[in-house]
Amino acid sequence: MHNINFTKYKYFTLSFSFLAIVFGFVVTFAKYGGFAHSLDFNGGLRTVVELPADKTRSDLDGYFQSKNIEAVVILLEKEKNIYQLDIGLGSLDTIESLYKEIPEANRESSTSAIDRFVQLLRYEYKLPKEKVLSADQVGAVVGGELTEVGITLLLTTLAIILLYLSIRSQFKFALASSIALVHDILMTLALIGFLQIKPSVPIIAALLTLLGYSINDKIVVFDRIRENAHGKDNLALSNIINVSITQTLGRTINTSFTTMISVVAIIVGGAVELYDFAFVLLFGVIVGTYSSIYIAAPISEIYDQLRKKRFA
């Protein structure tokens, strides 16, 4: 089979990834001041309302968008047109000023943000009191704790994978896989920040899934490299890498393709609340595949060259 020279572009791909990550994080923090706020991470307001039959989700979405209120709209019961509205803490000021615009006659004195939001909603949608089924100020489901646990988790996982792979194969492959995994996570986080996707439980699930997928992908490629490199210490690693990646290319394409079929089905299917999850996952699969070929393999090669130079 004709071999493709994958490692030829290694410096280009490595710098491209590096710049993309830096760019994503710079935009995230300089332009937006960090990741998007979300109910799952920061807490906020949550109301459940029964809307008149002629109102739809897009009405609600349109309303919140026009008023610049960050809201997640979830349809709880189709027949009765019951919606759950989650409002991020970032929109409290907007709600405050909108509340003040309600004519005096329709306004009751209120003490809490959630109260003001409910009044705003009732005024806007002409809702009687009993159609507001619940209204709570809710705390974060996940949050500070998770970030901490997440980082510990990632570092420990990487350390153990490094150890396992060093024993099973060679340190250079273990090191390269670990760096590539970090690359995948950082890339995806940069994307989440750049697009201001709201972090949520499904997004965490997506991150974890792509981590699993990515580990799998890297090991398959490296196993082939290791097998081909067996007993050929003198051969340039870049050649072996190219041969191996070419040999596993069919498998890589098939696996990425089948995984993407399921993910795309969710995106096309139109489950609104799963869109972010599927989108992040789709990106993750692409990045995971890309990094196995263009990040992990070149890093192992560079490491190999450096080591050979040192001992030469």
């Binding site: 949550r46 459940v48 979830i74 349809l75 709880l76 019961e77 919606y83 759950q84 709570d136 705390g139 489901v141 996940v142 704790e145 998770l146 646990v149 997440g150 988790l153 420990t156 996982t157 153990i160 994978i161 396992y164 792979l165 099973r168 949520s200 439980v201 499904p202 965490i204 699930a205 997506a206 974890l208 899934t209 699993g212 997928y213 580990i215 799998n216 090991i219 398959v220 196993d223 082939r224 040999q247 596993t248 069919g250 098939n254 696996t255 089948t258 995984t259 079929i261 399921s262 993910v263 795309v264 089905a265 969710i266 299917g269 139109g270 489950a271 609104v272 609340e273 799963l274 999850f277």
Partner: protein, 644 residues
């Protein structure tokens, strides 16, 4: 592999899996129990309640749901006070919802989903259906904070006497230096035990969690989850489907304890004082001014524990009760067995707890035909038995009161030392009270009082629409992947699909067996499992094809293909497994749910791809006699098969 007798294994495993999964699809019977007090209501009120239930029923659980309810639209007979609901897919959220919406009609805690014969046989009646997490179905979440101040004050009671003695020794100029040193170190030791380290707090919270777990299981609530929030010294309880349940909260927070305390020594100086002044009031014809009457009024008006405590504290001040003693009310029933349990007189007990509930276990309520009342017998722990024997031999002739919660329920005289580690409490109990008391003793009391830090209704992360659309999308995705595999690998793809299906079925059965609660991240874990399972087969087929291309005979190519792929698949899965196990150990909530499905998914994937697929493939090639194995896609495939 070659031994086709092994084929029996997948069939066996599938049969077992389907058996385990059966309750999820089976026609179920749910019993909705009508509250006892409904039958005492006037007929018109009963009718209103029945109508309310059935109107709601017609709206939501009617024809579309496929559920039927018997008897329809009338009150069930008093001797069988329940409605029988039959249907498929009766979820816990719906069960709880039905009872929540009809609280004055339905006895929530007694509703019961009848176990299927399978659950009866393998689980002794315990449910085998897949549970859905709060993020999928919504529900109530309560965070209960441990009140450690109260805990230390109780501890201080326990050591009250010893502390006093030690202080006396220390302050007494006559005591020996040696004794003083000893007393000093013991004092430091006791006082350090009042200082709660984070570690100690966790231990107490763990105990509380266990007790809450027990209480919830006896409440017959569907799928409650209890976990500790270390950062907040709190316990989080998740109750799917339940949106507001005061009764459950009360059960959770109940800190009732059972303990023995010695009464003041005879002649009862303090008790006598109180009784004298009460009698004087009575003689003056001012019954409503007596303390016991006032106290009864507090109880009848449901003034709460705090008001009662304050009342007793004031009483202690009034009668100058020394700090070593404490006033309690002795509770009893009036003359008839049906009259209420009320405080009837005051007793003065030692502040020191003589024997605590921790020293007792295994309580059983039983009917005492001699006194026509219920009593509770229990076993003492070895340590407790020793304490009890010492206590009863040293204090013959004194009264030993049994305090339940803050009520003295019995105050017998110690006649003889009691050995043997068994004892009983006879009081004027009703059956319910005897059962409750026995539960408090057997399950233990909450070690720490819990206060509600946060109680909220959790909406599902996904709406009904998204779940429906999402499931459809996943199903379509699955179908497309399977179709693609057949298109690309032909017979190989078919075998891969077969083992993928078996994989998912076994995984579902395993998760059911482990009482796993399915959450959204859990579903993500299953999707990843499916992806990795397909990948494993792809790796194998690519290897087989390489072998064929190198001109090997088909059966050898198949064997070598599997062998070559073995370590790659192992390595990939073992590393992911390591990551998964770490996630289970370190993570919680969403991370854990994901990791558990992932880890078990890896186990099933290794089995199906390395064992099952191979078995099927070898069977096809060596037994059924497939001579051409084309692992190239239809239309694009070059002819490259080798003859076996």
């Amino acid at each position: 592999m070659q031994s086709y007798r092994l084929l029996i294994l997948p069939f066996l495993i599938l049969a077992v899996s389907f058996t385990i999964l059966y309750p999820n699809f089976a026609d179920r019977t749910l019993k909705i129990v009508v509250r006892e007090d409904v039958y005492a209501l006037p007929e018109a009120d009963q009718k209103t309640l029945v109508n309310a239930l059935f109107e709601r029923w017609a709206k939501d659980y009617g024809k579309g749901s496929g559920w039927t309810i018997e008897p329809q639209g009338i009150l069930p007979p008093k001797e069988n006070p329940y409605y029988t609901v039959k249907g498929r897919f009766i979820t816990s959220a719906k069960i709880n919802q039905i009872s929540q919406e009809n609280q004055s009609f339905v006895s929530e805690s007694k509703n019961k989903l009848e176990p299927t014969w399978i659950e009866e046989t393998i689980r002794g009646g315990k449910s085998l259906s897949i549970k859905l997490g709060l993020d999928l179905q919504g529900g109530m979440r309560v965070v209960l904070k441990g009140d450690f101040d109260d805990y230390t004050s109780k501890l201080k009671d326990l050591y009250a006497k010893e502390l006093n003695e030690l202080k006396l020794t220390l302050n007494n100029p006559a005591s020996k230096v040696e004794d003083k040193e000893k007393a000093k170190s013991r004092l430091a030791e006791i006082e350090s035990s009042f200082d709660l380290s984070p570690m100690r707090k966790i231990v107490e919270l763990e105990k509380a969690k266990m007790i809450i777990d027990n209480r919830l299981t006896t409440q017959n609530l569907t799928e409650p989850q209890v976990r500790i929030q270390k950062e907040q010294d709190a316990i989080e309880v998740s109750l799917p489907g339940v949106s507001n349940s005061a009764a459950i909260l009360e059960i959770l927070q109940n800190t009732e304890t059972v303990e023995y305390r010695l009464e003041e020594p005879t002649p009862f100086v303090f008790k006598g004082q109180i009784a004298d002044s009460e009698r004087r009031m009575m003689d003056l014809g001012k019954r409503e001014n007596t303390d016991i009457y006032l106290f009864q009024e507090l109880v009848k008006n449901k003034a709460g524990k705090k008001a009662q405590d304050e009342f007793l504290e004031n009483l202690e001040k009034k009668y100058n009760i020394p700090p070593d003693f404490k006033i309690y009310a002795m509770w009893a029933r009036g003359n008839s067995a049906k009259s209420n349990l009320l405080p009837r007189s005051f007793v003065v007990l030692e502040r020191k707890i003589a024997l605590s509930g921790n020293d007792m276990t295994n309580a059983q309520p039983s009917y005492n035909s001699n006194s026509y009342g219920w009593m509770v017998s229990f076993t003492l722990t070895p340590n407790g038995a020793e304490k009890f024997f010492d206590l009863t031999s040293e204090n013959r002739g004194r009264n030993l009161a049994i305090v339940w919660g803050d009520k003295v329920i019995s105050n017998p005289v110690i006649n003889d030392p009691i050995a043997g580690g068994r004892a009983e409490i006879s009081g004027s109990f009703s059956e319910q009270e005897a059962i409750r008391l026995a539960n408090v003793i057997s399950e233990g009391a909450l070690p720490i009082p819990l206060s509600v830090l946060e109680m909220r209704f959790i909406g599902p992360t996904l709406g009904i629409e998204s779940i429906e659309v999402g499931l459809k999308a996943v199903a379509i995705g699955f179908f497309l992947v399977m179709a693609y595999m057949i298109f690309y690998y032909r017979l190989g793809g078919f075998i891969a699909d077969l083992s993928l299906l078996v994989n998912i079925i076994i995984l579902a059965a395993l998760l059911t067996l482990m009482d796993f609660t399915l959450t959204l991240p859990g579903i993500a874990g299953i999707i990843l499992t499916a992806g990795m399972a397909v990948d494993a087969n792809v790796i194998i087929y690519e290897r087989i094809r390489e072998e064929i291309e190198e001109g090997r005979a088909l059966s050898i190519a198949v064997t070598r293909g599997f062998e070559n792929a073995f370590w790659t698949i192992m390595d990939a899965n073992v590393t992911t497994l390591i990551a998964g196990i770490l996630m289970i150990r370190l993570g919680n909530g969403p991370i854990k749910g994901f990791a558990i499905t992932l880890c078990w998914g890896i186990v099933t994937t290794l089995f199906t791809s390395l064992f099952l697929s191979r078995l099927f493939m070898e069977l096809a090639v060596n037994r059924i006699g497939i001579h051409h194995l084309n692992l190239r896609p239809f239309f694009f495939g070059k002819k490259e098969t080798t003859h076996a």
